[in-house]
Homo-oligomer: 354 residues x 2
């Protein structure tokens, strides 16, 4: 059986002030009528049935998740007591699925991405599922890059001149590059963006964790007997406290031998910051994106999200995000620094706004 | 006796969104602890006693004025039924003072200026009062220009090489110049900024109005018998309806023969727009002016007036004025256009924000 595991524990601080600790990005309607979490759930239709869709999130978001996804049973939402990056999150989910179905194939994916072409996405995922089923490889989804992006990690793969929709061996993972390196990656033709979407047998990922992340593996192996009992919460709490903070990419993918990648082009964006929302939005003839009650005068390429009236005069490339208690005014070239300001506020007595 | 007449009927739309139709600029604490109206009142201390200070304003601001100036009697606040620029305002006040004291000397001054050196201001005004008393001239106050400002009108006067504090004959009034003309004015040494502050005998100004603005004069001459009676409100209503909309500068000062100017230097600003507030404010080492809860990051020369939390990231020369229902984000070079946006909003269903 195929299972979907939505990773929904992030706090999305680059999306401040709309994304807050009490309601991060994945629970917001950033674009369109659904929250990013809901869109991610719908994306798995025809890949896994609702009873096989699980969500792992911080326990403070468990009830928000259940509210937004009434289609799934409450116990399919797993609450993490502490955020420890993706490796512990995937270990917990894999252990849980393994107890239920030792042959489970797991699609693990972030819950805050945007994907435009659902059909293409599902076709790519089906190829990845088939590759995971027929091999003991860890399978990842790589995005055909469209520009030399410096905000994503890259995957180098064994590319062919004539590509078909199939899984290719991965040569290496690369961290977020500088612009020169990103341009070289793009020109070479054998680099893909790392989407953070993975497919594997739970047996395979648990086996690889046992080798490459024994501390994480052992922490969760201990809780196997408590799963689905009253003791689960306490056992999980202890497991997370023992776990190091580590990503599945760094902890397993970069170290494992048999890693495959399925390249895809399906209008993917990780909507990592306000710039991405602007890029994905329809613009007026002056390049402005205006949501809510907004008036612009002698202004171009501005992005306004108004909760009250917002008026821009003589502004260019500005992002104005207005919420009931806080306003962000940011130049588009500085969107990556929003996260730093959130850190600053947390440390300087403004945590109530975070 | 010397009387002060504060002209307080403007709507200050270049100061939107803090200045609103229900509470324009002169009723706001723009800089410091007092409203501009209150500062103007205090400025006249030692020049005219409280019982001689009158305010002319739109009738919708009469109670606001009485609230802000409890030192003066309610009847010293004259309400205009319609705004008709400064000539009718001065005619009404002059007629009222003349009925009370035919020998009155009147200081007429806008209520939304900033003056730093009160002692110098009062010395200049005393010279102007003395000139008005000893001659039948209209006396105006000219400001020694400090830079080639294009936002003010100018007064050309009979300058001397060695100036003393006294009244000089005015040669001509000049409209707001372009920058080349303003530079020429500055270099010539015989141009002053037109402050809009006037001193005259009420007999003199009424006599000059009778000659140069007979329509305005006649409208108010008719109400003389109704002043200070129950009929005053209706009579004033009729007078204003008959009056053309005209400024005292254009209607009288530019046409009269005997006009004198007293040049002064007392840290004057008409605080005409948000740029002026920035220029007059203390700045941090990055040139930012931050009022309220504001955080700036990689930003310089920004001016933030926050009612909630305002965060600026990567912004330069931006003005952010945050009020409970509306926010302005304006480049400093575009402050003059705020007025146009207010006009636009009034015409496009956003009058509730004006």
């Amino acid at each position: 059986m195929v299972y979907g595991v939505l990773m929904a524990g992030g706090i999305g601080s680059r999306f401040w002030p709309r994304s807050r600790k009490v309601r991060p990005k994945q629970f917001l309607r950033v674009l369109g009528d659904h929250t990013l979490l809901q869109s991610t759930y719908h994306r798995l239709q025809n890949l896994a049935p609702p009873e096989n869709i699980w969500v792992v999130t911080h326990e403070r978001y468990a009830s928000l998740t259940r509210d937004q996804l009434p289609q799934i049973a409450p116990e399919q939402v797993l609450g993490e007591p502490i955020s420890r990056n993706t490796a512990p999150c995937i270990a917990y989910a894999a252990m849980r699925l393994h107890a239920k179905d030792p042959d489970a194939i797991m699609i693990a994916l972030p819950s805050d991405h945007l994907i435009r072409d659902l059909q293409a996405f599902r076709n790519v995922l089906r190829v990845a599922v088939e590759a995971a089923r027929s091999t003991d490889a860890l399978v990842t989804i790589g995005i055909q890059p469209t520009h030399p992006e410096t905000g994503y990690g890259y995957i180098q793969f064994e590319s062919m001149t004539k590509r078909s929709l199939k899984a290719y061996p991965v040569r290496a993972f690369a961290e977020k590059p500088d612009i020169a390196t990103a341009e070289r990656f793009l020109d070479s033709g054998d680099f893909l963006w790392n989407s953070g979407i993975f497919v594997w047998k739970v047996q395979t990922i648990l086996g690889q964790m046992k080798i490459h992340l024994p501390k994480v593996y052992d922490s969760f192996a201990e809780i196997a007997s408590s799963l689905d009992t009253e003791k689960e919460a306490v056992a999980v709490q202890m497991a997370y406290q023992k776990c190091p903070r580590i990503s599945i990419d760094y902890g397993v993918m970069e170290r494992a031998n048999r890693v495959l990648v399925v390249p895809g082009s399906f209008g993917w964006s990780d909507i990592g910051d306000w710039r991405a929302v602007y890029d994905l939005s329809e613009k007026d003839k002056h390049g402005n994106v205006l949501r809510g009650t907004a008036v612009v005068h002698h202004s171009s390429r501005c992005h306004v999200e108004a909760s009250r009236l917002v008026v821009c005069v003589g502004m260019h490339d500005a992002i104005v995000v207005d919420t009931p208690d806080a306003i962000l005014v940011c130049h588009r070239e500085s969107v990556q620094q929003v996260r730093n300001v959130v850190d600053y506020m947390r440390a300087h007595g403004l945590e109530r706004f975070v």
